[in-house]
């Protein structure tokens, strides 16, 4: 590895002569060793999925949820150091709560991503702290329905627009990925962790920017992509965890929830079949051709 710090990498917030903060780059290494996480933005919702590597047979199956909820309609999943991920979620929940106190409405996903990006970036400024060892994917649905304000009393005046701009489009899905440096972008499909290269390749094939993928189809795809990404850690067992947020008229009614177990099992079954199908193509497929 070229230029291993050499003195400029021992402390956070220190610039190297070529303008790099090595502690942040080392934090990214911690992320690259973590289980793969992906997020998919669909036409009518968001899906988050993660590959939970099983480190011990003694772990309780089905417990140890990695995908956390923030407020009611936003989910967060992270790859890297799990305790740092929990700290991140804790701050996200505080930000959401503080937004609600001020504006009496749930925080838009875009605003939350901005707040968290700033928070993570702040941990790269001082030598007395270290950067977060996680990359987090934040996804949610901002409601487009007419909702009441928090603690609403009464129904407002019968005439006029009630302070709202007529015809302004509001709400919709939001998917953001925040790195240890605090940098973040909005995504149609996001992937991080060990199998991110394979996952990204699969996500690009889905043509997500056209905004046509349906939520249920997205769930199947997400499971399949995690299985593909797991090839990079083939020697270890893993548990698939998936969650989704839909629009108000969708299956989750605007709330962030775990994908129901029946749908999850179906998605896993299809994903496993797709993986076997690929093996057949590369393996016995050649045998058939030779016979002909």
């Amino acid at each position: 590895m070229t230029s291993i710090g050499t003195g400029y990498d021992l402390q956070n917030s220190v610039f190297s002569p070529d303008g790099r903060n090595f502690q942040v780059e080392y934090a990214v290494k911690a992320v690259e060793n973590g289980g793969t996480c992906i997020g998919i933005r669909c036409k009518n919702g968001i899906i988050l999925a993660t590959e939970k590597i099983i480190t011990s047979k003694l772990l309780r199956p089905g417990a140890n949820r990695r995908i956390a909820t923030v407020d009611r309609n936003i989910g967060v999943v992270s790859a890297g150091l799990v305790p740092d991920g929990r700290h991140f979620v804790s701050r996200a929940r505080d930000e959401a709560s503080s937004w609600r106190s001020t504006y009496k409405a749930p925080i838009p996903v875009k605003a939350l991503a901005g707040r968290l990006g700033s928070y993570v970036q702040a941990y790269t400024l001082y030598s007395s702290v270290r950067p977060f060892g996680i990359t987090a994917i934040v996804g949610g649905w901002d409601t487009d329905a007419e909702t009441k304000v928090d603690g609403q009393v009464g129904i407002g005046p019968a005439v006029g627009s009630g302070g709202k701009v007529d015809g302004a489009k509001k709400g919709g899905p939001g998917l953001y990925m925040i790195e240890p440096s605090g940098l973040y972008w909005g995504y149609y499909g996001a992937a991080t962790g060990k199998g991110r290269q394979a996952a990204k390749a699969e996500l690009e094939k889905l043509d997500l920017s056209s905004g046509t993928l349906e939520l249920e189809a997205g769930v199947m795809e997400a499971a399949r992509i995690i299985y593909v990404a797991h090839e990079d850690s083939k020697d270890k067992d893993f548990e698939l965890e998936m969650s989704w947020v839909s629009s108000v008229d969708g299956p989750t009614k605007g709330r962030h929830e775990q994908v129901p177990s029946s749908l999850l099992e179906e998605a896993e079954r299809r994903a496993k079949k797709a993986m076997e199908g690929e093996d057949e193509e590369t393996g016995s497929g050649e045998g058939e051709k030779m016979e002909e």
């Binding site: 407020d71 009611r72 959401a96 609600r100 106190s101 928090d150 603690g151 009393v153 009464g154």
Partner: protein
């Protein structure tokens, strides 16, 4: 005469009264609730065999002015608890937002841990008592209804002093005087609750709402009613109307209109 430095240049106390130093406090305005401003009137509830019925009218009065007529004072918490608020409406808003954030936080853990009506009541009573001890009360009297930890019907009240009551029938405000006697005819103590059907309970509550509209001078004929059961969860109807109100008997009342006798 007071020749001490603190009295130099000051008008005389015996003519102008004692000097009020309260404006010197640098901590800023420190408001303590002295009186409720915009208020809701009674809330009534009764337990029946499988659950609870609760009702409150849709009026927020500004003193004697019937100011806001679409104020829903029954606020559901989750699918097994609901709080009915009487008293100051801004404090009701504060508590509603507080309970909303409590609900958001409770849902963060693994599924299966649900705050039932009893937990909610305990929590609210701690909040109310704390505020009373700060001499800054939330000026409300509330009924907390729903299902307790064993899925049995739960009904309790808590008020601005942090006092709690539990009974098969409860009512706040004027309801305590006008409605409670009628509700108690239905179920006087806990052992009689199992004989009360849902229909009887709803009918009794609606009858009491009519009585209150006739006799409580700060009430309205539009009301909200909710029924909470294990099977049905919280069934809330927010814009019910009292039917068949007739003031035809009014001219028989002594002192009506321009009558002297």
């Amino acid at each position: 005469m007071n020749h001490l430095p603190q009295a130099w240049g000051r008008p005389r106390d015996d003519i102008y009264g004692h000097y009020d130093p309260s404006h010197l406090q640098t901590a800023g305005p420190n408001a303590h609730t002295q009186q409720p401003i915009v208020t809701g009137t009674s809330v009534l509830a009764v337990k029946f065999k499988d659950g609870i019925v609760i009702a409150a009218d849709n009026l927020a009065s500004y003193g004697s002015l019937a100011r806001f007529t679409h104020v829903h004072r029954l606020r559901p918490f989750n699918d097994r608890a609901l709080v009915g608020f009487g008293g100051d409406i801004s404090d009701m808003q504060y508590l509603d937002r507080l309970l909303n954030s409590l609900d958001v936080n409770e849902n963060y853990g693994s599924p299966g841990h649900v705050l039932n009506a009893q937990n909610l009541h305990t929590y609210l009573s701690k909040v109310m008592y704390k505020r009373r001890s700060d001499m800054n009360p939330l000026w409300n009297s509330m009924l907390v209804v729903g299902l307790d930890g064993d899925d049995k019907p739960f009904l309790s009240s808590v008020d601005l002093l942090g006092t709690t009551f539990s009974s098969p029938t409860l009512a706040t405000g004027f309801g305590g005087h006008l409605a409670q006697p009628l509700l108690r005819k239905l179920a006087d103590d806990e052992s009689q609750v199992k004989d009360v059907t849902r229909e009887k309970a709803v009918a009794a509550v609606q009858e009491c709402m009519k009585v209150l509209f006739y006799r409580d001078a700060r009430s309205l004929d539009s009301y909200s009613i909710a029924v909470i059961t294990k099977e049905g969860g919280v069934e809330l109807k927010e814009d019910e109307q009292l039917e068949g109100q007739s003031w035809a008997f009014a001219d028989t009342i002594r002192g009506y209109g321009t009558q002297v006798n």
